[in-house]
Symmetry: C2
Amino acid sequence: MPDSKAATNRDKATAKRRNQILEAAVMCFLEKGYHQTGVRDIAARAGVSLGNLYNHFPGKHDVLVEIAQLERKEVGPFLEVLMKPSPAPKVLDGFIGAYAKYLSAPENVILSLEITSEAIRQPDIARLFLDTRENLIATLVTLVERGIAEGDFRSVPNANQVSHLIIEILESSAERSVFSNTPMRKIVGSVRDFVSAALQPQ
Amino acid sequence: MPDSKAATNRDKATAKRRNQILEAAVMCFLEKGYHQTGVRDIAARAGVSLGNLYNHFPGKHDVLVEIAQLERKEVGPFLEVLMKPSPAPKVLDGFIGAYAKYLSAPENVILSLEITSEAIRQPDIARLFLDTRENLIATLVTLVERGIAEGDFRSVPNANQVSHLIIEILESSAERSVFSNTPMRKIVGSVRDFVSAALQPQ
DNA sequence: CATTATTGAACGAACGATCGTTCATACTAT
DNA sequence: ATAGTATGAACGATCGTTCGTTCAATAATG
């Protein structure tokens, strides 16, 4: 065992508490939104005293930042999907399906909307948001460019812009599915059709 | 003069005050967001006493509802653009340009995002939001269907879904333009290209 | 037309609740 | 013995709303 894992029982318990708090915060933010959620709400839901929460986090804002950082790591699997060596249209279809599935969980959509609307006025959260996005876009751009080079996609004027549009179509469709109570699976077909038509050569 | 305008001086002054309050509220919501804005902020910015604000509005929530209703009426001009009898692709292009121009003002984007994120947990605001959207979509659907009938667009599987996607592409692009400080005019070209490719026959 | 009632705009103090945060203190694993 | 977890009371600030009151414009009355 590497000594980097010199985790005492106490350390493990502390890490567990932290996660409890974070999970409780996510639930609260989903239910009531960030600003309607009080620190007491989070502490109570996590089964932790008010004062103790401040032993684990400097403040309410930092809890949100940490949640935003966790969301950031959720894109990893999609990057892998995008980097598969199959024909570009197939890979793109796979990505659309995978991302749509992720977005078919309303929690993911709502939490993302919550973070986005906080990002407007909180620069550090905006930065996290943009970094995550940049990762995803960059990987999607290489896929689109590969598709063009292999003759599977038309030669779009700007692969970066197109990549943004693809992601945004998916996310805003997911938002609509939440607001209009339409399951994502009834939407994703149209998205697939629309995107593939937009990229079709000729 | 019709007696429906039996507005006394007092009535006119009252209407003016109401508008002052609404405009102040919009500015506050843009600057700090709905929940960070206190009723005192709105009253102060409107040049009105705290107590008097409650003579004009039942409460803070109702101010937001009224603002959402005002936003609702902003779509009118776009409906007119969509109903022009020119060839469908030309009309669509005109609409994209007009809507993009509207969305190139960050206030419109941010206020819309603010209202959207309130709509998640406030059913009456969600209803306003969905009503407005339904109006726009219905008009866009008839345009798309006309374009298909006239052979200018391909026969898409679902004109309603496509219409939603077109609107959502525009709005989410506008959101991106706000977050990444990219002027909308540098984005709208790609949007036009993407949408027209997606609708191209063959 | 002059006068009184009545209405509702306008004000800011005050209310009770809740907010995020700090604090003194007890306790326990190291 | 020490360092860090845990607790809940307490703090000052701010929240949305209500309240009693003043005052001017309108409506009703003569």
